[in-house]
């Protein structure tokens, strides 16, 4: 099925997605600092370049030139494997996200997507749950009590919240009937009804997913794995130089990916309001060809998807600088006694609504 032009197109898309996730993660570090500063009535980094835009570059130079440190008694192989694994899994999960609709050139149509598989959601879940190995291995290999505690916390937290997350997704699957992220996105554009984004049908599910997304990416208020005040630095206490950089970086890549997943699942992905009207207007009033009008809509949709993603990233940072950290027992209680029953209730509710033909 895959011909050479398709393969070439696909490799281009994969490369662009790879580069984009790295670029966005880089500028997330800058955005985090600026947003934190603004929320605290400061101005943030503004010395390196205009508006401090070269700050990530300066940070990278700092990270690379720092001493590479191996703690005594650490397992050297696993100590290096940990951050690599965290980074690889973070980057892998963006492969199945549909970043845009179809681009048509002549008779060839291409997807703006790394790989189109019919198990996209399972892929993301599998890869994301692998991500905890990076944290776990790194924390264990450091030969440090604090690191180990952070790693254990990360593992138990991820497992607990993955349950609720998976169950909140089941409700989405019940509506869509498919695991392919592309299919789910396309279903949210049926007949141009942008109001039929899944958020309208699944408000409770989205809330659960959002909370779990915070826990999965180890962000405040669920950042217990690193928890500076209790565990020094958590699982990356012993890390320095670019190995630490990879850990911090993988966190931002994860935020980017999880924001993309939320946009796709609940906020219509690359669909935007009045897209069909706009396309028809270009075809009828401006006498464009179908292909070029469709390509334009696709590109606009991609821009729209990225706007949604950036909004979510901003929300992640906004929350981080607003809420204090949960206590560990509170975290577990929230996960097991509130979110999971709520998710089950949501499944039942969705089933009933489908049965009675409401959604």
């Amino acid at each position: 099925m895959l011909e050479l032009p398709a393969l070439g197109w696909q490799s281009i898309v994969i490369f662009v997605v790879f580069a984009l996730s790295l670029l966005i993660a880089t500028y997330c570090t800058y955005a985090e600092r600026v947003i934190a500063a603004f929320l605290q009535d400061r101005v943030g980094p503004d010395r390196a370049g205009p508006y401090g835009l070269l700050q990530p570059l300066a940070d990278a130079v700092k990270m690379f030139t720092k001493e590479e440190f191996f703690p005594g008694g650490a397992n050297k192989v696993l100590f290096v494997v940990g951050p690599c694994l965290a980074m690889i899994t973070a980057l892998m999960s963006s492969a199945v996200i549909p970043f845009g609709n179809t681009m048509s050139f002549g008779n060839n149509a291409f997807f703006l997507q790394g790989i189109e598989v019919n198990i996209g959601m399972l892929w993301i879940f599998g890869v994301v749950s692998l991500g905890v190995y990076g944290v776990m291995i790194g924390g264990w290999a450091s030969n440090n009590k604090f690191s180990l505690l952070g790693a254990i916390r990360a593992a138990s937290q991820n497992i607990s919240y993955e349950l609720a997350m998976g169950m909140s997704l089941i409700a989405v699957l019940m509506i869509s009937g498919t695991l392919s992220l592309r299919e789910i996105t396309l279903q949210q554009s049926v007949a141009g009804e942008w109001q039929m984004w899944n958020i309208v049908k699944q408000p409770i599910g989205f809330l659960i997913f959002l909370v779990c997304a915070f826990a999965e990416t180890n962000r405040t208020p669920f950042d217990l794995p690193e928890c500076e005040t209790e565990l020094v630095g958590g699982y990356h206490t012993e890390y320095s130089s670019m190995k630490l950089g990879l850990y911090l970086f993988s966190e931002y890549v994860n935020i980017f990916v999880v924001s993309a997943v939320m946009s796709v699942l609940y906020f219509g992905g690359f669909n935007f309001p009045f897209q069909y009207e706009l396309r028809d207007w270009f075809i009828n009033s401006q006498s464009w060809e179908l292909n070029s009008a469709q390509n334009l809509i696709t590109l606009l949709g991609t821009v729209g998807l990225f706007l949604k993603i950036f909004a979510f990233i901003f929300f992640f940072m906004w929350i981080r600088w607003t809420l204090p950290r949960f206590r560990y027992d509170q975290l577990m209680r929230l996960g097991w006694t509130i979110l999971i029953p709520l998710a089950v209730f949501n499944i039942v509710l969705t089933g009933a609504l489908i049965l009675f033909g409401v959604i």
Binding site: I35, F38, L39, Q40, D41, R42, V43, D46, W318, I319, W321, T322, L323
Partner: protein, 187 residues
Amino acid sequence: MQLTNRAKVLEKKPMTLAERAYLPAIFQGLSITMRHFFMKKATVRYPEEVRPFSAFFRGLHVLKRDEQGRERCTACGLCAVSCPAEAITMVAGERKKGEEGLYREEKYAISYEINMLRCIFCGLCEEACPKAAIYLQADKMAPPRYERDEFIYGKDRLVEPVSPDERSVRGIQLTPEQADTLRARIV
């Protein structure tokens, strides 16, 4: 034992559903931080942006000259005595023949040093001076430096230059506009 009548019994009510759900509180917090996002920032971007000085700001010292360009200081030592931080030291010397154009009195300061790390910029030296020789400038500050000995200002950095063009560039100097607004406020 009751000391005052202001004692208050603390009532611990069970939380309402809205409080237990925690979400309204989160939205409240988010709205507060979002308000701060758009507020005016407290930061002063220092080298580009200088905070306004007070009208009677006491900055870097200057040893004045009189109308004929002679040093006013006679090394009487009253400033050193009055200095609570003991920042001022001086060595007095006798004026030689032919130096009448340089020093106003027969006695003058051969060396005059102020340690800017000790100085607390209280202005007592200015008040103590009977010759109106030492002043704390309103428009100039002692800048930060890397070495401690650079903070000991000698006569080379304290005495007022003969012509205004040779003003010392070592202190942090206000721009002419800033100095003008300051002068307008003083008058």
